[in-house]
Symmetry: C2
Subunit: 185 residues, 2 copies
Amino acid sequence: MTTQDRLIETTRELLWERGYVGTSPKAIQQRAGVGQGSMYHHFTGKPDLAATALRRTAEQLRAGAGQLLAGPGTAYRRIEAYLLAERDVLRGCPIGGMTQDPEVVADPALRGPVQETFAWLGGRLAAVVAEGQAAGEFTADADPADLAAAVAAIVQGGYALARAAGSPEPFHQAVRGALALLRAR
Amino acid sequence: MTTQDRLIETTRELLWERGYVGTSPKAIQQRAGVGQGSMYHHFTGKPDLAATALRRTAEQLRAGAGQLLAGPGTAYRRIEAYLLAERDVLRGCPIGGMTQDPEVVADPALRGPVQETFAWLGGRLAAVVAEGQAAGEFTADADPADLAAAVAAIVQGGYALARAAGSPEPFHQAVRGALALLRAR
DNA sequence: GTCTATAATAGGATAGAC
DNA sequence: GTCTATCCTATTATAGAC
């Protein structure tokens, strides 16, 4: 792995663990085992490095979710697969967590990957819901985009509840609740 | 308003706007218009002041939600009232947002008010759901605690989606989706 | 109670040697 | 490309005067 790559991977970890404000260049350099000079040689500064790291994280998240949602099975089964995917619940979402940081939200380069990820996810989920409605699997009296947003919110909100409780259980409750509601359609 | 109160109110604002890591004692003092000495006279330090501020915010949040959930009307109407309550969506939740900060999660004095708020909210929502099931308003095939967690997660997740998008719309989509699902019970 | 020093450490970056 | 040295500001307090 190149020095540049180590910087990116280390930044991805730290952003996930400590958020953007909580991640200092010094901490990145120390964990990556490189001096200051290297970091500023490859990146213009912390925002540049963080944006690069976030783009990579967003890519991987989309790849994972894309697989689950494109899989075989009914619409319900695919949404279920997405909701039941294995997650390190107490670590939270490496993309969604960024929305809490005002500096991320304020900087287009940082918010970009986050915004695009959720826009993409909403679109994919809505497409699956629409397929389910077309197949008569779900009643067609709700906007697919609304149900898609609800499913995405369950995951993001589940993380928040779990971290508040110090336990993954509230996340799983929320998912079970959402699946129970979806089955009733 | 006393100096102590101004410090608490200012800290509540800053915690909401910038989170715990992003809120410095100096910023609190400047916005409150008091010197360093005053802050350290009334509070042992930033964690103490922040914990006091969070307890007050938690109280107000519970008071507001409690009113909506205890109101008249069917279980569905009360949950609807909670979900449709007016919110400054792009500001996020002043309590739920704290879960993103590792220092808050790690400090029992800081996580306490957050944990208690969601524990209380989950209990209240579950009670309303249970009433709805008892009244035949909802089918009784789902655990009230699961549906309660789902409702709470919709709100918290809705904030995250909205801030990612830079628009309140995804929050409202998620709420509409959740209400559509609840109506089908 | 409140204020103004003062201080040790961290944050974020630049300069220049190698 | 990578490193160390240096710089300025912010952070989070403590000390002591008023």
